[in-house]
């Protein structure tokens, strides 16, 4: 029986966001948008979904007078990401996969 793939992470943009955030302390919205190539609206929606699941934290603040949104992965998010990667490897390693 295969491990179930987390549907929240099994999405190209959300997975890219999590992959960026697991490698850094935190990242601002603009950085994530530039690295993923996503539109601002779409990225915002996906960040909200990840935040609702407690996979990331989203902090809205200011840098000088400019608004700045900063995201960071949570321990729950790291664990979910690790389990997702493990499930992927398990799926790829099995010779009887469909």
């Amino acid at each position: 029986m295969f491990k179930k793939l987390d549907p929240l992470l099994h999405s190209e943009l959300r997975l890219a966001v999590m992959s960026i955030l697991v490698g850094v302390d935190d990242a601002d919205f603009v950085y994530i948008k530039n690295k993923t190539g996503a539109t601002a609206g779409n990225l915002s929606v996906q960040l909200d979904k990840l935040s609702e699941a407690n996979y990331i934290t989203v902090k809205k603040g200011y840098k000088g007078k400019k608004p700045c949104t900063t995201c960071a992965v949570t321990d729950v998010g790291i664990k979910a990401f690790e389990e997702y990667v493990e499930a992927l490897r398990d799926y790829i390693a099995r010779p009887d996969k469909e």
Partner: protein, 192 residues
């Protein structure tokens, strides 16, 4: 990037690997700018010290080494403003710590050599420099940095122990180290 939900497992793993690798490359490229900055400072300051020490015969000009962090850190901050902001990470902190520890060791050895145990300070510091460079390169998975560390550390130690006779001319090792740093930084920046 769309919110595709029908990626295969292979595609997902590929996306993860590529994203993490891109992140690492961004951090490495940012370090390239710092290598160029500190390489220029090292070359210029070492040349100034060599010139003044050689002309006056006074080793006190080595105190000018303290000008390096005083000039370098504000310039590094200016450099940060001009370039793409790169998020902090364990990798960037580790690299900063490596060089911080190198600075602490160098300063401590200089004080020990001055007050207690005279030693071939240039040889020891250039070896430490090369070591720090190599470890940074391994951390960043950057072959140019690892190789430049080997060249600076081992090559510099051989020159300091042998060919370069007078204490003043050993300072030129650091000029050479600076040039190697600049070339390393340029190589990192132009790498795709």
């Amino acid at each position: 990037m769309e919110t595709k939900n029908k990626m295969t497992a292979e595609q997902s793993l590929k996306l993860i690997n590529e994203t993490i690798e891109n992140n690492r490359r961004v951090i490495t490229k940012k370090n390239g700018s710092y290598y160029i900055l500190w390489g220029i400072l090292l070359s210029v300051i070492s040349l100034v010290i060599f010139f003044l020490w050689d002309k006056t015969g006074s080793a006190a000009w080595n105190l000018l080494w303290f000008s390096m962090p005083i000039i370098g850190h504000p310039l590094a901050l200016l450099l940060d403003r001009g370039e793409e902001k790169v998020p902090g990470s364990f990798l960037s902190r580790l690299t900063a710590w490596i060089w911080g520890i190198f600075g602490v060791f160098s300063l401590s050895l200089a004080l020990i050599a001055f007050f207690w145990v005279p030693m071939n300070l240039s040889l020891v510091i250039i070896l430490l420099f090369g070591f720090a460079e190599c470890i940074s390169g391994i951390t960043l998975k950057s072959w140019p940095v690892i190789v430049s560390g080997l060249i600076i550390g081992l090559g510099g130690a051989v020159l300091a122990a042998g060919v370069l006779a007078t204490s003043a001319s050993q300072i030129l090792l650091f000029t050479l180290a600076g040039v190697v740093l600049i070339l390393t930084g340029v190589l990192i920046k132009i790498q795709k």
